[in-house]
Symmetry: C2
Subunit: 137 residues, 2 copies
């Protein structure tokens, strides 16, 4: 038995409003839910991108909580990579340049496939890469 | 334009060897690559789970690097959720109990669907949840 897929990928952000504007606006992801001061979640394909304020999620659930979600929360620059075709990477790069968002790196992997990297407003490293860099498709 | 999928989800670990044994052994994921002292990566469905030692990934690339991967690295307990059917969650729970791994939480969401939570050896919060908690399938 092994997991069939990742359902939720999480990043921690220092400014939830800026994160919501970026992931919903610049990246165009569909927002699922926001809980003020704690999180904002977005749909992405068959998965969900979770953006948390670690100050809030590090609090343990109350003893009487009906949904005793275990605490978690990290500090520092996380990483997440979105799938993109070669043509989409070209379009993302033009989009980021038009939005004044620096593309921090842009290269081809030795075994084939391109990655570009930007930062979200909290400094998380976001990559857009062709799935073939991992042998997919 | 919006990303079609998450390709890579990352967690930071304090002991790469323990992480490799856990994700490869207990969870049964297929290891793609290990770079001693820096990372170990696993395939999971159409995506990849990246486990990093943040001490290593926080180092900026050398000026002459051919693959100038931007630095990143977080400290603290991260979160990741694997997709699992209701029957698989039953099997995972039995598996974790057999392995002596505490199931920290186990509940049904108000709108339907079950989640269970464990910790990886570095304390990251791992969830196994039915995709229908987000309206999938």
């Amino acid at each position: 038995m092994t997991p069939s897929a990742v359902l939720e990928s999480a990043l921690y952000v220092t400014d939830l409003a800026a994160a919501e504007a970026f992931y919903g606006g610049v990246l165009g992801l569909e927002r699922i839910v926001r809980v003020e001061g704690r999180h904002v979640f977005f749909r992405c394909g068959e998965g969900v991108v979770l953006l948390f304020d670690a100050e809030a999620t590090r609090q343990p659930p109350r003893p009487d909580a009906k949904l005793p979600v275990p605490p978690h929360g990290a500090v520092g620059q996380g990483h997440l990579c979105f799938a993109a075709s070669a043509a989409e990477i070209d379009r993302w790069k033009a989009h980021f340049e038009a939005e004044g968002i620096a593309v921090e790196a842009d290269f081809e992997w030795p075994s084939g496939g391109r990655s570009i990297y930007i930062r979200d407003p909290s400094g998380n490293s976001l990559e857009f890469a062709e799935p073939r860099i991992w042998g997919f498709r």
